[in-house]
């Protein structure tokens, strides 16, 4: 699991590489929590290198989305592989997340 953060056009782009399973989830959770606590309002998560996500992984993003919405911020997911997209879709979460094809698109959104 590798997590990189980069500030871009007033947003923080988080690039995750690896499997977001039970262990991966807590790493992602810590990283996103840190960004939210530093006061950032817009987070873009680049999923291009994510092979797998479990239900504990979904929980991390649900929790982040709730927190950001409460403070008037936004969370945008982009570049999801078909399998990862399906996991979000099966749980019905594609209804509440803004999902974009590319990082550029997400930054404009």
């Amino acid at each position: 699991m590798k997590i990189e953060k980069e500030g871009k056009d007033g947003a923080v782009v988080v690039r995750i590489a690896g499997r977001i399973d039970t262990t991966g989830s807590s790493e992602v959770s810590d990283a996103i929590k840190e960004i939210i606590e530093s006061g950032e309002k817009k987070i873009v998560v680049n999923f291009s290198q994510v092979e797998y996500i479990s239900s504990s992984g979904l929980r991390v993003f649900i929790s982040a989305l709730k927190q950001l919405k409460n403070t008037g911020g936004s969370l945008i997911l982009c570049d999801l592989k078909p399998f990862v997209y399906e996991v979000f879709d099966l749980a019905g979460f594609t209804r509440i997340f803004v999902i974009c094809d590319t990082v550029e698109e997400a930054l404009k959104a």
Binding site: R59, A64, D89, L90, G92
Partner: protein, 458 residues
Amino acid sequence: MSSILTGDLWLHLFEMLCVIIVVAYFITRTKAFITVHEGKGSVTDYGVLILIFGALSIYGTMSGFAILGAPVNIRDLGPLVAGITCGPVVGGVAGIIGAVYRLSLGGFTAIPCTIATSISGFAGGAIYLLHKRQMISVRWAVLFAALFECFHLILVLCINSDMDTAVSIVSQVAGPLVFFNALGMGIFAKIAENRIEEVRTRGERDRYKSELDRKRAELKIAKEIQQQFLPKDIPPITGYDLATFSLPAWEIGGDFYDIIPFGNQKHGLIIADVSGKSIPAALFMALSKITVRSTAVWHPGTAETLRDANDIIANESDSGMFVTVFYGILDRMGERMVYTNAGHNPPLVYRRKTDSFEYLRQNGMALGVMTGTGYEQDEVTLHPGDIVVFYTDGVTEAINRNEEQFGLERLTSVVSASRDMTSYQIIRQIEEEMSGFCKDEPQFDDITIMVLKAKGDD
């Protein structure tokens, strides 16, 4: 120093060290040593230790030997050790015993030696107290013994009747005296330290074990309570054959199923999976199960039921926890099932006539995420011989040693192969196939399966 040590002296020193090792081992193995060290000793414990350490001090005097005519002994060692391991009472009294014996022998250095030995045990005890009733490390104990012997020698220089003789004795014995007492202390302290550490580790282990036993007992009760949340027996449903199976990965889990008889030949079927495992999942499961069951009684449709259940659960949950729920209502009259799938793994529908599968996909979001989300209701018609398999992701995501997942394909092929069996037998087949696939790989997630077979008119 080897030049001044003859063969006899080496033998003598070796004998002395053996005695120290044996005595150290013996003392540290007594119950009294540990209880007194921990400050919990009885009067008898103190008495026993005082006598042993006092005797060691007397042995120290008796085993003394002469190097170039100067007396070298380890009289102070017993009281010093007693002090740093068992405190000022044991150390002090043992020192006085050794000192009285030394005084009775008389001689040129009788007074300073008596004073030094009297003080030795109290000095060790003071260190024990200063170190919060803990033994100091072996290295510091050795340094302490060496410094104390230096102090002993200074006393000889200060209190004597003839300075020239005193200087001559001190200059000859200083090296060996400091060296052998420090060496003896090193051996003794190391043995005592090992023993104290051993007792401490065992205490920690015992405490940990009793805590573990308590937790295990609590989990067992929690498991029994959770078992009572699941339907005790499956009500017969005219025209259908229904069987269920549930196996949590830990004692308790987040999966559940429910069968609600509504009357008028209608039955509600629920299967659900809480995100997460073990205790947090079990708590959330209890909340979800009761909420869905209560709202189901109020609404005739599945969508309104889950919409209300979602509003209630989402209001109670800030942690990002959610629960995927499939809720269907079987209506015997039309051989149909209306359903709402709130983000749950799509149940499989095996069509007997075409030997093919359909999926009851989500038409609403998992419950507990946010209030005010919409749910739809769809409908599926079931014909005789059709089989519906409801399951949680513990089935398809079960892994084998190579981390391959059991997967949907294996599941569908078992169901298709056992199409002529009863629901109960189909579940057995799935179980068998899974255990053959996973072998010894431990179960990672809760597994729940519910199989419904449409029998037609019988």
